[in-house]
């Protein structure tokens, strides 16, 4: 059974987080989910448009929502920020007034609002088909945007478990830890690197204390910050799609594991998750 | 139109929950449009369709029937009868040319003053949107 979704990679996945894009495409292809890229997609609005007024903050995500609506498919974006924008925008566009304003700005009807999905929600529904046993202790790190605000999240905002459930299904051992949803410092990486360093290091230290050998994330910003400010020890930070890719027997090259600052390969080799390359 | 310019609303409120809820709105000074005329009935299940139809005949633009929340009826099950009765009456109203949105059923408990005042305000908005009776367009 082939399932189709409208796929919105977003800017990060075309640049700094290309490995997230590539691993997502490969994993979903292997799992029989067809990703049809949204044609002519534009920026989701990300973190800067809220400050620039309601109109543009709704019009930008509405563009992709409209496209998905025309494709007749749910809209899926791996980037936590894009996901959050689409979800919140679709909630706001349910109000006729906001919708009318936005349609006027777009000059187009949005049509029936598509459902908005994050890859985690799709993975949670798919039965795992691991070929390589993932004998590794994993800290699932959700960061802020996947579960907050509650209206946009798809799990408990303080103690989410969806990623833990998914990695456990694929054979890894999720650790129990308390910093799943702490802030990594996010977009302050350039303005306040000291703060980002403090926050990100603490997240990683907590993950290590809980016994994690690797941290999995589902957000490009989280990956970048944790990877950069690793603290005293080097703990690899992988996208969940990369970890699942390993379980599916994909090669490090196919999963672009070489793009991380902290090289995960020594650990993955020692764990027997990588035999070649 | 009411003398204040707004649509005319007749509210049949059960004595135990909704009338008390409307009292609570008063005690808490939660204002709502003055166009509603409240008639106290023992139970929402007491509201005979005749009373609804007579209210429209009298010139009401909307009829609000309010009772206890499901499961909370002072008489155990009167509100369930009201719910079923008005589910049947609404399409009939539509048939005779009175938009079914003009008959509204709400559950308002004795503590829900805010809910009552909001219900009246939103009903008024809906009736304004529908316009005067008999001008369906």
């Amino acid at each position: 059974m082939t399932k189709q979704v409208a796929y919105f990679p977003g800017c990060a996945l075309e640049g700094s987080a290309r490995e997230y894009d590539v691993s997502t495409r490969r994993v979903f292809a292997a799992l029989g989910v067809e990703l049809l890229e949204v044609p002519d997609w534009v920026c989701c609005g990300a973190s800067s448009t809220h400050g620039r007024g309601q109109e543009v903050a709704l019009a930008l995500p509405a563009h992709a929502l409209r496209a998905a609506s025309q494709m007749g498919l749910p809209l899926m974006s791996p980037c936590a920020m894009c996901y959050s924008r689409f979800k919140l925008a679709s909630l706001e566009l349910a109000h006729p007034e906001a919708r009318a304003r936005t349609e006027a700005a777009l000059g187009q009807d949005i049509g029936e609002l598509p459902s908005v999905l994050h890859p985690l929600q799709v993975l949670d529904e798919i039965a795992p088909q691991a070929t390589v046993p993932l004998d590794i202790k994993v800290a699932s790190y959700y960061g802020c945007l996947l579960v907050r605000p509650p209206a946009a999240g798809f799990d408990d905002q303080e103690n989410p478990t969806i990623m833990d459930r998914i990695v456990a299904g694929w054979g890894a051992q999720p650790v129990s830890w308390a910093f799943k949803t702490e802030c990594c410092g996010a977009g302050m990486a350039l303005a306040r690197p000291d703060m980002v360093a403090r926050l990100s290091r603490r997240v990683l230290e907590q993950a290590r204390q809980a016994g994690a050998e690797v941290v999995v994330v589902a957000c490009p910003m989280c990956q970048a910050n944790l990877d950069l400010y690793t603290g005293e020890k080097d703990t690899p930070v992988l996208y969940i799609t990369q970890l699942i890719g390993l379980a599916l027997g994909l090669s490090p090259r196919e999963l672009m594991l070489g793009r991380h600052l902290i090289n995960p390969l020594p650990l993955l080799r020692a764990k027997g998750l990588v035999n070649h390359g | 139109m009411d003398m204040n310019g707004g649509p005319r609303i007749v509210g049949f409120l059960c004595n135990w929950c909704s009338y008390a809820g409307a009292d609570m709105a008063g005690t808490s000074r939660m204002s709502y449009p003055p166009n509603i005329r409240i008639i106290r009935v023992p139970c929402s299940g007491r509201v005979d369709p005749l009373l609804v139809v007579k209210s429209f005949q009298q010139g009401a633009d909307g009829v609000l029937v309010a009772g206890c929340h499901p499961g909370d009826c002072h008489y155990t099950e009167g509100n369930y009868y009201a719910r079923r009765r008005f589910a049947l009456l609404r399409p009939l109203l539509d048939f005779v040319g009175i938009e079914q949105e003009r008959l509204r059923l709400e559950w308002v408990s004795a503590s829900e003053g805010r809910k009552f005042s909001r219900a009246v305000a939103s009903f008024q908005e809906e009736l304004e949107r529908l316009g005067p009776r008999g001008h369906r367009g």
Binding site: P150, D156, E158, N159, W177, A178, F179, E182, Q206, Q209 | D2, M3, N4, R8, V10, N15, W16, C17, Y19, A22, D23, A25, G26, T27, R29, M30, S31, Y32, P34, R37, I38, I39, R40, V41, P42, C43, G45, R46, V47, L50, L51, K54, S55, Q58, G59, A60, C68, D72, H74, Y75, T76, E77, G78, Y81, R85, S109, A110, S111, E112, S117
Partner: protein, 665 residues
């Protein structure tokens, strides 16, 4: 020809500052039937009522309309005033100019005045169809039922019994005592909770006027004030409590130990047990879920293959009076009561919804009630406060307030009233147990509003050295064997982190499990949080809208011990006022059948929730007939009656249609 007197109330300025009362008076003066109009600053005052009485006499009024507040407030007052002047009280109507007009339309005086005129017109239109009604006397069963054996129910039962009336106290657990029995000490006096509670419990057991039914639940209630028929299910204890002497051999020797509910699973009990040593009655019950012999019997009955569970029966072998009664069954008894006190109490809020505090995940995160059990000398640790994780005494204890309280997002909007004070108490008592303990209390507002409470709270800070931090906690997480509490001190605007040995959550107070079911059985309402609703929050705080049903204790709203006791006594006083009468005056607003119009379709029989309608044969025709004792006047019958043969007195078609017909004319 009716002569209607209209009495307009200013209600001080509550009505008159919004509604132009003299203008209303002018507008209604010439309505058909109106022969007299008067205004008064306070109609409900004695001069106001006197004016009504006088006008009835002097002007020969046959109907009275009082335009003032809600009829739910003063209908009884004005009916009584009319009756004093010889007018049938049901010939009085009210127009609600305050709650439904001046208070909600204060921003538009003109609209409010016009509406007030309409409301009075509506009442005048209705009242010409009012008929004089005469209440039926209701015989009073001079016995009371108290549901719930916590401190509020105990107090109510004792007070009713002290006045010489019979009272039955039903408790679902195997002992009375309720939440108070679980407490170690009580604020602000630091009395030992059991020491002040157990004498009252014993008094309940010994008082000849009190019938104590523990391990029992109310299953159904029918009837009405004066004669409630209540079915009570006495659950099988499997112990003959007449033979049993409470010697204690059985529960000491029983080998099957399970988590104790009384100790909130922080300790163990046997599967034949009393919940705590001072239980009343001191008679054990067999827990049929865990008892080995019961499991054995179930295995035998199932005919399953394999290894048989042990027969056990150690309790039976050792019981000196041979009191075990394995084939005892649940027993349903039906008793009649004149009045009912509901004292179903509270449960602690389940803090697991706050994932960030790790309750249920980290063993050293406990609730305040669990700490009570650890502090109690009869608790699982015999009063030594030890960390559940490793059995060491905690030195740094952090308290988190408002866990579920004052949090509309994930908990309850209300304040749970008792938590600020019990956190202060815990800080003081912990310091007494171990001078090295340092307590930190994260609070939102420190609410210490009872007698001696503020002083007590200061004592926690000054004598026990508790550090009060104003702010919410973001997260609790384990680090190096401690629990790090990460929060905000909003007074200095800084984040704080405290490495704690134990974290205590002040869980909110929520209504006891099943209180809503009890409410439904009794036809009383509960609010969106499932607290039971009193007839008036200020002036009728223990009455309900069902006559003869009263509320006591925390089933109404969170409250502490002194308040529970007061509410228990208050409910008892209201009960006694009923029990002191031989007969009551019933509501005459019941259904009545016009046999000539009745077609005998019997739809009314089907819809009547109280089985108050039956059929009778009149002049050879089968027609409906109403039992006025059972009828509560809901009017469901009237709404389904096609030939309009059945009507509710006081809410007739004519009255309601007259109201409708008066609108916008």
């Amino acid at each position: 020809m009716v002569k209607v007197g209209v009495f307009l109330c200013h209600c001080g300025r509550n009505i008159s500052e919004v509604v132009d009362v003299p203008r209303v008076a002018e507008a209604v003066r010439h309505l058909p039937g109106v022969t007299y109009v008067d205004e008064n600053k306070y109609m409900c005052s004695e001069p106001g009522q006197a004016a009504i009485r006088q006008a009835i006499t002097e002007h020969g009024l046959t109907r009275v309309v009082v335009a003032s507040c809600s009829p739910r407030m003063h209908e009884i007052t004005f009916r009584r005033a009319a009756a004093q002047a010889g007018l049938n009280p049901y010939l009085v109507e009210m127009a609600n100019l305050r709650e439904h007009c001046s208070w909600v339309h204060a921003d538009d005086h003109e609209a409010a005045t016009l509406k007030a005129i309409e409301l009075v017109k509506k009442a005048v239109a209705r009242i010409s169809y009012n008929e004089p009604l005469t209440p039926q006397p209701i015989p009073m069963t001079r016995r009371a039922l108290v549901i719930g054996g916590g401190i509020a129910g105990i107090q109510a039962a004792l007070d009713i019994a002290a006045a010489g009336h019979q009272v039955t106290l039903v408790e679902r657990e195997s002992t009375i005592g309720g939440r108070m029995a679980q407490l170690d000490k009580t604020f602000p006096t630091l009395d030992c909770s059991s020491c002040i509670l157990t004498p009252k419990m014993v008094e309940v057991a010994q008082n000849p006027n009190i019938e104590l039914l523990t391990y029992s639940e109310v299953e159904s209630v029918s009837g009405f004030v004066g004669s409630f028929e209540v079915q009570i299910r006495k659950r099988a204890t499997l112990v003959d409590h007449v033979k049993c002497t409470g010697c204690g051999i059985c529960w000491e020797k029983c080998p099957e130990k399970v988590p104790s509910e009384f100790d909130l699973a922080r300790g163990k009990r046997s599967s034949i047990y009393i919940p705590f040593p001072q239980a009343v009655p001191v008679k054990p019950v067999v827990d049929q879920v865990h008892c080995r012999y019961i499991k054995y019997q179930e295995f035998e009955a199932s005919g399953a293959e394999g290894k048989k569970p042990p027969q056990c029966r150690i309790c039976e072998k050792l019981c000196p009076p041979q009191a075990l009664a394995w084939d005892q069954e649940d027993e349903a008894v039906t008793e009649k009561f004149g009045a009912i006190v509901v004292a179903t109490g509270y449960d602690p809020f389940d803090p697991t919804v706050y994932g960030e505090f790790g309750y249920g995940q980290y063993p050293d995160v406990i609730t305040g009630l669990e700490l009570e059990r650890l502090l109690s000398a009869s608790g699982p640790t015999e009063g030594h406060v030890l960390r559940p994780s490793d059995g060491t005494p905690p030195k740094t204890v952090v308290f988190l307030s408002c866990i579920g309280s004052r949090d509309e997002e994930r908990g309850k909007a209300y304040c749970s009233q008792i938590c600020c004070m019990y956190m202060a108490k815990h800080a003081i008592v912990l310091k007494e147990h171990d001078p090295e303990v340092q307590s930190y209390i994260f609070y939102i507002d420190n609410r210490a509003v009872g007698k001696g409470y503020e002083e007590f709270s200061r004592r926690a800070q000054e004598d026990a050295g508790a550090v009060y931090l104003r702010g919410r906690v973001a997260k609790v997480f384990p680090q190096d064997g401690k629990l790090v509490v990460m929060g905000e001190d909003s007074l200095i605007g800084r984040q704080v982190e405290i490495a704690a040995d134990m974290v205590v959550l002040a869980a909110a107070v929520v209504p006891s499990r099943g209180a809503d079911e009890v409410a439904r059985m009794l036809n009383i309402s509960y609010d969106s949080d499932h607290f039971l609703v009193e007839a008036h929050p200020k002036l009728r705080p223990v009455e309900t809208h069902t006559d003869g049903v009263f509320l006591a204790g925390a089933c109404v709203s969170p409250c502490d011990v002194p308040q529970s006791v007061s509410r228990g006594s208050a409910a008892a006083a209201k009960t006694l006022a009923l029990l002191s009468k031989e007969t009551l005056v019933g509501e005459p607003t019941t259904a009545v059948v016009d046999a000539l119009r009745c077609s005998g379709c019997q739809l009314c029989l089907e819809v009547c929730p109280f089985n108050a309608i039956s059929t009778q044969v009149v002049a050879g025709r089968t027609v409906a007939s109403v039992n006025e004792g059972l009828c509560k006047g809901c009017g469901l019958c009237s709404a389904v009656c096609r030939p309009a043969a059945i009507g509710v007195k006081g809410s007739t078609h004519k009255q309601l249609l007259a109201e409708v017909a008066s609108l916008w004319t």
